[in-house]
């Protein structure tokens, strides 16, 4: 289903939904994050796959988020995520800390339709101590019945939200090797994807394209959003806009600074587009 805008995609996400987002190095749809803010989304539960970045920080700052499950929240070279840190300090969000391969594994369990996956490591970490939903059992295949190992429950997000370079006439999307977006799409009940452009044809007929495709089977709706990952990079099409993120990090140190940034970068740009 092709929709007219990122705002139309954001309208499909109800308050309280569990939304899986890739981080800044892996094709976030910042366009949908901004549209969720404009729609006034509330009580979203965000899943960082496997960590969280710019899109998560602006959604938290705008009051759209009740919970974050992630392995880290960071703005990269621009430092700590200011609105995430402030919301945690003020007790406005619940944070469920994980570790990167655990998030991948929980999504892979959903991909396979099985109740859990096992993962090495983690034992002795306070991450485990604070995750009552994660369990440790003796490896049932170990000779002596010893060898404790962590079990992680399947995690099925309501929505996968990310940005891709291209969509085709059949509703397939192409994003090259960033296959964590495929994992999110496969594991989620629905996937909402912004793209730079739509091209005629079917990517699955082209062997060179097919391995970088997420099949339309998994894609609920797409919309064109030019530079929809910005300030994050898009493959080899455009780079990370470090100056934009550094400017955001400075502005978002304070609530007032963040509000002014939102007015300028999220609300005013939409009015400008609507007026054109």
């Amino acid at each position: 289903m092709m929709l007219p805008s990122a705002d139309a995609l954001a309208a499909l996400v109800p308050d309280g939904a569990l939304v899986a987002l890739p981080p800044d190095n892996s094709l976030p749809s910042v366009a949908i994050a901004k549209a969720l803010i404009r729609r006034g989304a509330r009580d979203l539960r965000l899943l960082g796959v496997p960590v969280s970045g710019f899109a998560t920080d602006i959604l938290i700052g705008a009051g759209c988020v009740a919970e974050v499950e992630t392995s880290a929240v960071s703005l990269g070279e621009a430092g700590f995520a200011p609105r995430f840190s402030a919301a945690l300090r003020d007790g406005r969000i619940i944070v469920r800390d994980a570790t990167c391969p655990a998030i991948h594994s929980m999504l892979q369990a959903s991909e396979k339709g099985i109740p859990f996956m096992a993962l090495r490591g983690i034992i002795g970490s306070d991450i485990l101590a604070n995750r009552p939903d994660w369990k440790v059992i003796p490896n049932p295949f170990a000779e002596e019945g010893m060898d404790p190992i962590v079990l992680l429950p399947a995690k099925q997000p309501d929505f996968a939200v990310f940005h891709a370079a291209l969509a085709d006439s059949e509703g397939n999307v192409w994003l090259g090797r960033r296959r964590e977006c495929a994992t999110i799409a496969h594991a989620s009940k629905a996937a909402l994807v912004t793209v730079e452009r739509v091209v005629e044809g079917n990517f699955l007929d082209d062997e060179r394209m097919a391995s970088g495709v997420i099949s339309a089977t998994y894609i609920t709706a797409t919309a064109i959003a030019k530079r929809g990952a910005r300030p994050a990079a898009l493959l080899d099409e455009y780079g990370f806009d470090a100056a934009y993120v550094a400017d955001y990090a400075r502005a978002a140190k304070t609530e007032d600074g963040f509000r002014a940034w939102l007015d300028r970068e999220v609300f005013a740009t939409a009015q400008k587009v609507a007026a054109e």
Partner: protein
């Protein structure tokens, strides 16, 4: 030769630890997010002509993975990554790492970004080099407030390796998993055993005469300022600009 920047000294020091013949071989090294000095050390090892495969997680062009970010953890789970670098907002005397934050869980004092893959990588790589430039009692603590990844594990818990060493802006420590303690290996210029003790929140061993951390060689410096910088500038523009200037 112009003055040696601390970042250059640290990169060369890490490179020597990577090449330590007493440690398990480093055939395939992965470098995570926000780690420009470890990345520089790895490039230095490679450009010095040592046969090592580097997987730089945040390199956009030429990123080694085609199955998404989980591929690093799958490779590591199999034992195919030999060495990884970790740091921490707090590191304690038993090499426990806290990347979550101070105060009560999940960091009600100062919140750090989070644990990333540390709770897995620290167990599953045959060795880890700990790196934290800030050497102060608030970072190097007696006991971390929260454990992202434990320094040692009880018998019976599957674990391939532990910390090999901890490199800071003041010194190099070796880690001894048998007694879960650090010992002082070498001192950077201007430091003494006493100055390091004063800046360190945990107790550590310091036996005999502690030597100086060697300067980078002229060849190492030339590589760092030339080819290493060129390899790193796309991923770490801010770092390269600060250490080596904006334009070559």
């Amino acid at each position: 030769m112009s003055d040696i920047a601390l970042e250059e000294r640290l990169a060369a020091t890490l490179a020597r630890l990577i090449l330590d013949p007493a440690a398990p071989p480093a055939r395939h090294i992965a470098v995570g997010a926000a780690s420009p000095i470890p990345a520089a050390a790895c490039w230095l090892v490679k450009l010095l002509g040592h046969p090592v495969k580097l997987s730089l997680l945040h390199k956009r062009s030429g990123n080694p993975f085609t199955e998404g970010t989980r591929e690093l953890f799958d490779l590591t789970g199999q034992g195919r990554i030999d060495l990884f670098f970790l740091g921490g907002g707090q590191i304690d005397g038993q090499a426990n790492l806290n990347l979550v934050g101070t105060g009560e869980w999940p960091g009600t004092g100062v919140r750090f970004p989070g644990s990333f893959g540390s709770a897995f990588m620290y167990f599953m790589t045959p060795r880890t080099i700990l790196f934290r430039e800030e050497h102060s009692p608030r970072v190097l603590v007696e006991k971390v407030d929260n454990i992202s990844a434990p320094g040692v594990s009880p018998p019976g818990v599957f674990r391939r390796g532990t910390a090999q060493a901890l490199v800071t802006g003041k010194c190099v420590f070796a880690f001894h998993p048998d007694r879960a303690r650090f010992s002082l290996s070498s001192l950077h210029p201007g430091e003494t055993v006493d100055s390091v003790r004063a800046a360190t929140g945990f107790d550590f061993d310091a036996e005999g005469e502690i030597g100086a951390t060697p300067d980078p060689t002229a060849a190492e410096l030339a590589l760092l300022r030339g080819q290493v910088r060129a390899e790193m500038v796309e991923t770490y523009p801010e770092f390269c600009g600060r250490v080596w200037g904006r334009a070559a």
